[in-house]
Symmetry: C2
């Protein structure tokens, strides 16, 4: 899945852009760009609340859109974000009324979508008097008189005498916090920009941002080249532990990719890469440590100790990041061995601690990170959900890309939504959850997750569905697509073991949530909202997520998709020193709950293996 397959979607009025797979719902594309769109009907295409307008590019209206929007509106480019899929490059205008207002109203620090712009990095034009005869003042002192008590690094002091005189004492200083990182003769203020990076286990996303106004100048993404060393963090840790140059190779690989992204966004925005004067990174603990060149060995052994927890601040040159060598680099705080900077970014992006009612942030992936906010307190944990949600270890599993079944509808028989409107080639995580939720509702599955045989008591199924249950190895399997319907000529089936994989993944997430709720003395019904983060294929159907027991039983409208909070949180930190302080504060304040050897978790995990009652 290379970048070349992805399609650019730009949003107005924010100017942000993202690259997404063909077939991605606009709602998700918007969430990835940090725009949370209101979906009271749960993305069913019924309420029309998520209306957006396509101002450039094509998207054919769906039946649901034709039912909700007038011909006139459709002709003007209005579409439903929950229905419209990306097939070609688009520019999309999001009306203020479609944004997630209800959440905004309860945020502590202003609207979610309004960014505080008060960056640590700024370019300042200084006009000084040339030194007079008898002046005892050094060049450094002269600069400090103009700038206040700043710190100057040796590389800046080295250039100072020449730059001051070349510019006739009119110079532009680039200052990050109270450190002068660059100095140039004359007025070179121009664009002062920074980079926000989401360093995912699988995907790297870099956003170049104008620090004057917070506008995204360019976005680029790439597969994390470390995937060549293993799909998940444990494989990467193993490589570092077992191969003498493992860390060096993984570190170089990710750094090279990050530098390529930096070069690409600089090029596409038309700025000199050395004019980038700050960068912020968010990733899980392992990714952040390897990026920094810090050995992750202690993350691979009990008790899974991170090297650092507080926000790590260094220089681009020290890290090996090819932007301005003196640029300030922040790596977000880490909460625990498997709760990293991406989770802190999620808290920063969502203002989780500011909700009036208890709130959950759940980032579903191979590693599931869960944060509970309650009465201003934060607790975070992580669970090993396994790769089922990514489509791995499922016989017909695949990533959420063209050909993946991502939605299953029951109407007497089974109807499939396939990404890219292709023939089904397999099933992605969201499709799996949807399929299992439907099979539970139909009674094809019993509450323990067993596929019932054709003659069993509760299985009074419509004939077309009953015919899909087939014997396999003394158990049963369910045929989602017959051989003649599929893209491969092989049937797409759900096997008993696929159901078990999903049960394990669900149980891990659900038990994690349960332990956090238990510790806070809360029930699921006390939750004001559950925020779902991360690029979990396309969106999970919320009712299905509750039905299969991945999420606790709460009302559907309380479940929100918040998109790529790692990128968005990193961007907030880049744009504002207050946000950086806030990130440090929540990083420190969040209690880390280690479930790895917790008997309560084990017991909860066992309970959660069974599907919840309807």
């Amino acid at each position: 899945m290379g970048r070349e397959e992805e399609i650019k979607v730009s949003f107005e009025p924010s100017g942000r852009s993202v690259y997404v797979l063909p077939g991605t719902i606009l709602l998700e594309a918007a969430a990835r760009a940090g725009h949370v769109i209101e979906t009271p009907c749960g993305g069913a295409g019924k309420c029309g609340k998520c209306t957006v307008r396509i101002t450039a590019g094509q998207s054919d209206p769906t039946d649901a859109e034709r039912a909700v929007l007038t011909e006139r509106r459709l002709a003007d480019g209005y579409r439903l974000a929950c229905q419209s899929r990306v097939a070609s490059p688009l520019t999309v205008e999001i009306p203020e009324t479609s944004l997630f207002q209800s959440a905004q109203k309860i945020l502590v620090r202003g609207p979610d979508d309004r960014l505080e712009v008060e960056p640590a990095a700024r370019k300042l034009l200084l006009e000084m008097d040339p030194p007079a005869q008898g002046s005892g003042c050094s060049d450094v002192e002269r600069l400090r008189q103009a700038l206040g008590p700043v710190t100057l690094d040796l590389p800046v002091i080295r250039r100072l005498p020449q730059v001051l005189r070349e510019g006739a004492f009119k110079v532009t200083a680039t200052v990050v916090d109270n450190t002068v990182v660059d100095i140039a003769p004359g007025d070179t203020r121009g664009t002062c920009c920074g980079l926000a990076f989401d360093v995912g286990t699988t995907t790297l996303v870099g956003t170049l941002i104008d620090l004057a106004d917070g506008v995204d100048l360019a976005v680029a993404s790439a597969i994390n080249p470390q995937t060549a060393f293993g799909d998940d963090v444990l494989a990467r840790i193993k490589t570092c532990r077992e191969e003498p140059d493992g860390l060096e190779r993984l570190h170089s690989a990710v750094l090279e990719a990050v530098n390529a992204i930096a070069g690409e966004v600089a090029r596409s925005a038309g700025v000199e890469r050395h004019s980038i004067c700050e960068a912020v990174f968010a990733g899980n603990t392992t990714m952040q440590q390897i990026l920094c060149g810090i050995h992750p060995l202690a993350l691979g052994e009990i008790p899974f100790i991170p090297a650092f927890r507080e926000l790590l601040r260094t220089r681009a040159s020290e890290l090996g990041l090819d932007i301005h060598p003196g640029a300030a680099v922040s790596v977000l705080p880490q909460i625990g061995g498997f709760v990293g900077g991406d989770t802190v970014a999620g808290i920063v992006a969502t203002r989780l601690d500011g909700f009036r009612e208890p709130a959950l942030l759940v980032d579903v992936g191979t590693n599931g990170e869960i944060v509970l906010a309650h009465g201003g307190r934060l607790a975070a944990t992580s669970v090993a959900a396994g790769p089922a949600f990514e489509g791995a270890r499922i016989v017909s599993g695949m990533r959420a890309t063209s050909g993946a079944i991502e939605k299953v509808v029951v109407d007497g028989d089974i109807r499939l939504n396939v990404i890219g409107n292709a023939r089904p080639a397999g099933i992605c995580g969201t499709g799996l959850i949807d399929a299992v939720a439907n099979l539970l509702a139909l009674g094809v599955l019993d509450p323990t997750g067993r596929i019932r045989g054709p003659g069993e008591p509760d299985a009074s199924l419509p004939a077309p569905i009953a015919e899909r249950v087939v014997g396999h190895d003394g158990q049963y399997a369910f045929v989602l697509a017959r051989a003649e319907e599929s893209a491969t000529g092989e049937p797409v089936r759900l096997y008993q073991r696929d159901i078990r994989e999903l049960q394990l993944a669900n149980a891990a997430i659900r038990a994690g949530i349960a332990v956090l709720l238990d510790a806070a003395g809360l029930e699921a019904r006390d939750l004001g909202c559950v925020l779902l983060a991360g690029a979990f294929g396309n969106f999970i159907r919320r009712s299905s997520a509750v039905r299969v027991g991945m999420l606790p039983p709460i009302e559907r409208h309380r479940i929100r998709f918040v998109g790529n909070t790692a990128s968005f949180g990193a961007k907030r930190v880049l744009l504002s020193v207050n946000e950086r302080d806030y990130a440090s504060r929540v990083g420190r304040a969040t209690r880390h709950v280690d479930l790895s050897l917790d008997p309560a978790f084990q017991s909860r995990f066992g309970e959660c293996m069974a599907f919840p009652p309807p």
Copy 2:
């Protein structure tokens, strides 16, 4: 004059060593090592107060030593430091009673020779508990619990997880101030050492020092390779201004030489060069700036602005110094464009601000730096003395090396002391001053500096001396050594223009002193002492320096030689954070007096051109 010509002299009980030219008086060798020896008779070899003992190596007793010391004492190796000359490698024991006690008694901060050892750099053994299950504490936090609120650089954090576990949580941390610069498993405390550098325009001296006890482990020196680009700082500044890569070449040249010295002292002390964890540099403003890679262009134009004044603190890796990459580097504060870190080191070495009576520190060289301390206030200036004191621009001038006339005695005729007991080849700065003082006393010179002809009224000279006055170009010259007596077969003469050169040099120093005294409302007689610093050939005869008017008329015993204060001040700063603070304080507190366009200086300079009355 390469290092290979120099001879090592070691001192006990300090353990310090220096390399000196053959023929150097022990008194000077000791001063270079930071030992100021008492010489109440002014180095005349009469009082016996400067007795030292040679414990290894040979030095034949002189007549003066035979007159003062018993046969028994001579046989036991006792010598007079003011008489004994270095001809071969020596180890010299300095009895406590020979040290400059009178000055010690009036010092503010303890005896001059007793070093405060409280270095910023230290190695600490830490034994921590391994992290327990459920510990929320990161490796960085664990280290901070053991060390207090230290700063950790990325290179240290990178190694931390491995080092902690390799050492089973018993590790050795190298801390400079509150920054951890290195971390190693187990107990590797061993030797923690630092480097003190004197970066002279002509000579580089590096001393490797044990930071635990202040003992010198090794000393090495080298000619500053920048001399290839010009003898004085102005020539170096010109190279940087006029050649595009001039700064880069000068910077690399000195850095390479400094790194060679660092390697040499490490080798000779048997320590790993990367175990050197701190370095301090003292040099004049131009030398310090070029060492740091800071362009000296503003030092070559009015109003001669230094790039920085406060103590500059950086890292070895940033500077390009090949010791531990994280080692802390201090470059001493600068007072003005031509009053640099070597002057600050001089103040630190001598505690100039602590004298009860007004005190002068005079560093005589091509550039003369003068500091006046009075009532706790410090004022400093510099004057361009020209190269006469170095023997340059004098027809028969030479450096203070073998064959140089360095002392002239009158006893009916002229008798010469020549360095290395060789035939005279020329005259060095001290010899020039001595010769001119004698010629003034004899009446060969009139008070304006003119060489009188044979028939002139005041010139009632002994015949052998009168015969030495010879005509030359309508003026006269004085023959110090006849052709048949000299090493070259050419006569060694003092020409009228040589006298003028010395007058210019004298006048510059003397006028600088006068302006500082005037500004403080002082007369020369108010001075409690004049401290003469710097490697000014061998020692100037103090009475001669007063006679020729280089120094104001004060009693001879108030004039002290304080040796290489740049090295010694740098060492103090290396060894103690209090000394470093003190250096910063005196750097800030010293008022810089810029004489370059000062009419009072011009007028005083004119007055001082004439020799003072006898």
